[in-house]
Symmetry: C2
Subunit: 153 residues, 2 copies
DNA sequence: CCGATTCATTTCAAGTATAAAATATATGTG
DNA sequence: CACATATATTTTATACTTGAAATGAATCGG
């Protein structure tokens, strides 16, 4: 009997995972789609800009890749493109010739402002089906998982 | 005052979205990592195999791409690789020369059995921080969002 | 049966992602 | 100082992903 209970618990978690994945994919796809059709940009670029917007003094490449939890090489490419668009720029770091400080340009900051406003509205709309009280409870549950995973890692 | 309440609700949903994204990325990364290091395979290949395992009679390419919610061209590439590994095969469809039926090979079925067992254990472990009762509640909340999004789309 | 449309799939171009190797620089230890 | 090691970034190879174009086959209305 304990075996059956255990098996059942496992299935519930598997189902929860599949639903979690499905939901976040659906929201992510919708956001990606709107960024593309309405602003001609992408989610990775938005994410990098968001990180840079929060650090006006600039971020080193490694710090950027750590915060976004993506590989170093990946950040190189995305920053390359933001730079080509004139939305970000690399600066040498005084005292460390290995490092690069990345910052939003004025144009990048302005553009990100527009994007961020739209993005927040979209999220609001897409997640609108969740009542406020429930949102708080779900966050609690996810917090447990996220914290647990961080410790593991 | 209603404006402030509205703004606050928005922020809560944005925070919920960011947490949802972070959690599912963390779980996904962990799964991807283990599939790679322990079995030398990838999540997309696992997903395709899982869909095929549920339909032993085979699936057409379009049906596969619809179920996994990825583009047609994407499925082409993944099935190409599964075929090269000897885990799946394409068959002509009697009566429709446009279509292809994809099936797991015997070897693919056996391999997937191993993968699926490990996968379920991993999910169980990774999501273990969520108590059973909470899992059910979170699923409820996510259900609302997912259903809502399907209608929209 | 013929032309238009739809459908199933592949191909293509571009972007995103990773792990691993390479490069260049910095730092610490004896 | 010299050498080992660590750090910051880029490069490379490979895979995944998308949207759009191309190809080939089916179907439908006249």
């Amino acid at each position: 009997m304990s075996v059956e209970l255990h098996a059942k618990a496992g299935k519930t978690r598997l189902r929860l995972w599949l639903k979690l994945l499905k939901t976040s994919n659906a929201v992510e796809t919708a956001l990606r789609d709107r960024l593309r059709t309405e602003f001609g940009t992408t989610l990775p670029r938005f994410d990098v800009m968001a990180a840079l917007a929060r650090s006006p003094e600039g971020l080193k490449m490694t710090e950027l890749s750590r915060r976004l939890r993506v590989s170093n090489g990946n950040v190189t490419g995305i920053v390359d493109r933001l730079e080509a668009e004139g939305h970000a720029e690399r600066h040498a770091v005084a005292g460390d010739r290995r490092a690069m400080e990345v910052r939003l340009t004025g144009r990048g900051r302005a553009h990100f402002g527009t994007l961020a406003t739209a993005h927040e509205e979209w999220v609001n709309e897409l997640m609108g089906a969740i009542p406020e009280a429930e949102a708080a409870r779900i966050m609690d549950g996810l917090d447990h998982v996220a914290r647990d995973l961080e410790e593991k890692q």
